[in-house]
């Protein structure tokens, strides 16, 4: 099978072209380094099945970073390359193109972001560029699909013209010569987006803008999440699902295994024994309700808002503004982006730490994410369980996690050898998000959520039910009781919830919610749960990204911190 590589500078839209060509939906955003893994997909050309590989962005082929090393290795057995160029940034794009031309591989060039170039008054003589490079050049706007058909139809023309090997200086000189020939500018004024763009990286205006953006983001997520819960999901569960469950419950022996498993315990409300979606803890009651009625609305709200911010191009600007703060933690501003992704789910957050330069930074960032960045699922449950007691309790958990984030970051920065590297970060222009792209990305992330959440939440509920049924609950709880009761001031049953956190944090908080704890106990247990041990999905990804040694380091830090912080909270609250 033929192998075609998609290559280009970071943030030129390779992943969007990839989606267009293969139909495989991948996450793309408006900042460099969105793609950290190799993505593969198939496309049919004529009657040939072609393997298309989306290569992480590279500025050159000199193997200065991991992405570039990967690119060079892949080039060795590629049959052709689709080189994606940024039409608004021709000079830099061409440097890579000339590097590619020196390799012995046929090339087609896609001159992407063509619509933006037009709006910016950048004129590129495509015919002339084609002649200069001696390979096919097709203007494309991958986001709308413009030019993609032509790109495909010209793939067979991919060419590998004889090109001399150039030194860096010679290559840049050649780039300059070509750009001079093919590109001209129309005089124009700053657009509004550019003015806002500059304002949001200048500290005096940028910090207030950041504060407003973050506040609005938070309010929007809350409003949207709570709205979905209050007006859509709770009514649906109460009016449609409850009667079904009541029917099932009526036909089963309330003490029997099937009832315990499917419906859970009946709860006393005003002398009547009824099903409670939060406390009953059956697969069909609490299991489904946690995923759909409590967590999903927040996940949806979070990813919708994040998607818009990402595609608009705001995140790199936040990275710039927070650079100084992040240096104190041994990171640089760029690390803000993995942290933000971690707020959705720790797994993509930790994967995104790959854009950081050194193993030291990756260890710090990944540890900070899994210890002090609560995922959306955990936060949704926290609002659901702790929120009714008052916003101040929820705030207390956030405050504790923030303090831990800073303290652990500073400690790690002081203890680990090496320093924090300097920031060199390209800031993409603001772009108005395409709603189609935002919707697609949202859909993709929701699918991922259900694939991961549903099985593990149900498994968690199952474990609790089985332990409950065979009355093993107490013996498990007794084992760790001294730590939990003396150190944290929690009832021994809370142990199981904390252990259950290894499966899924949301179902674990759900269990805490069913235990009749005081607000203080809830604050302590939720905080400990958030910090103590990663959930299984995060655990696997940590092992993959940090190696076994890094994982052990990271996990011991988590366990130690949660013991200390839990005990401190128990004393001071």
């Amino acid at each position: 099978m033929k192998r075609i590589l998609l290559m280009g500078n970071p943030n030129v839209g390779k992943s969007v072209v990839f989606s267009r060509l293969t139909g495989v939906r991948v996450i793309s955003s408006n900042y460099p380094g969105t793609t950290v893994e190799l993505m593969q997909g198939h496309m049919i050309l004529g009657d040939e099945d072609i393997l298309l590989i989306d290569v992480p962005g590279a500025y050159s082929l000199d193997a200065t970073c991991k992405a570039e090393e990967i690119a060079i290795t892949l080039l060795r057995d590629a049959d052709a390359v689709i080189n994606v160029l940024d039409a608004t940034n021709l000079e830099r794009s061409l440097n890579l193109t000339l590097g590619l031309l020196e390799k012995d591989v046929p090339i087609v060039a896609a001159l992407n972001i063509w619509d933006d170039a037009r709006h910016k008054g950048i004129h590129i003589d495509v015919a002339e560029l084609e002649q200069q490079l001696a390979v096919p050049v097709v203007p494309t706007t991958a986001v709308t699909g413009e030019g993609i058909k032509e790109l495909v139809s010209r793939l067979p023309e991919a060419a590998s013209p004889e090109t001399p090997h150039r030194s860096h200086e010679e290559r840049w000189a050649e780039v300059g010569r070509i750009v001079e020939k093919v590109q001209s500018f129309e005089h124009r004024h700053h657009t509004l987006l550019e003015v806002i763009g500059d304002a949001s990286v200048t500290p005096a205006t940028g910090l207030p803008i950041a504060a407003v953006v973050l506040l609005v983001t938070f309010v929007l997520i809350r409003w949207f999440g709570e709205g979905l819960i209050g007006y859509v999901f709770e009514p649906l569960f109460d009016t449609l699902w409850m009667p079904v469950l009541t029917q099932i419950s009526g036909r089963l022996d309330p003490e029997g295994f099937a009832h315990t498993l499917l419906i859970g315990q009946l709860i006393d409300v005003d002398g009547e024994r009824v099903i409670d979606f939060v406390q009953s803890f059956g697969l069909l009651s609490t299991g489904l309700f946690v995923v759909l009625g409590m967590v999903f609305p927040y996940v949806l709200a979070f990813y919708l808002v994040l998607g818009v911010l990402e595609d608009f191009g705001y995140l790199p600007r936040l990275a710039v503004l927070l650079d100084t703060l992040m240096h104190r933690l041994g990171l640089h501003g760029w690390a803000v982006i993995p942290m933000l992704l971690g707020i959705g789910c720790n797994v993509p957050g930790i994967l995104a730490t790959r854009v950081l330069d050194s193993p030291r930074e990756r260890l710090i960032a990944a540890t900070l994410i899994s210890i002090a960045v609560p995922c959306a699922a955990l936060q949704a449950m926290m609002w659901g369980v702790l929120g009714p007691f008052g916003v101040r309790y929820v705030g207390l958990v956030y405050l504790t996690l923030f303090v831990v984030w800073i303290v652990i970051g500073r400690l790690l920065n002081g203890m680990l050898k090496g320093g924090s590297p300097e920031l060199i970060l390209e800031i993409p222009p603001y772009r108005l998000p395409s709603w189609r792209a935002v919707a697609q990305k949202l859909l993709l992330r929701i699918r991922q959520f259900f694939r991961e959440a549903l099985p593990f939440v149900l498994l968690g509920v199952l474990v609790v039910d089985v332990l409950n049924y065979v009355h093993a609950f107490d013996s498990v709880a007794n084992l760790a009781a001294p730590v939990v009761t003396r150190l944290f001031g929690l009832p021994k049953e809370a142990v199981l919830a904390i252990v259950l956190g290894f499966l899924r944090k949301d179902v674990a908080v759900g269990m805490l919610g069913a235990l009749d704890l005081t607000p203080k106990q809830l604050v302590i247990s939720v905080t400990v749960l958030a910090m103590s041990f990663p959930c299984i999905a995060t655990f696997v990804v940590l092992a993959k990204e940090l190696g076994v040694k890094g994982l052990l380091k990271s996990v011991s830090i988590m366990v130690a911190t949660s013991l200390v912080v839990g005990a401190i909270l128990n004393v001071i609250l």
Binding site: Y59, T88, D198, P203, I427
Partner: protein
């Protein structure tokens, strides 16, 4: 002859040309990939905040944020 200064000393809004980049191959390389290399024209978009934080420069159509340490190594002069 125009005065040569590190990029840190350039006022916001000023356009300057790069004279040289002090330091090893690595930094040379990363900056040149972003268009920042001897002879290139840069416009400073925003400065660092009380001595901390990155500087943002525009070079062609690319905006890049540079940490203070990097900035000190970029020697520029007013054209």
């Amino acid at each position: 002859m125009a005065r040569q200064v590190p990029l840190t000393e350039v006022a916001v809004g000023q356009t300057v040309s790069v004279v040289e980049i002090l330091g090893g191959h690595g930094i040379h390389h990363r900056l040149s990939a972003l268009g920042i290399r001897p002879g290139a024209m840069l416009t400073k978009v925003s400065g660092s905040f009380g001595g901390f934080g990155p500087t943002v420069v525009r070079c062609g159509e690319t905006q890049t944020a540079l940490g203070a340490g990097v900035c000190r190594r970029v020697v520029v002069e007013a054209p």
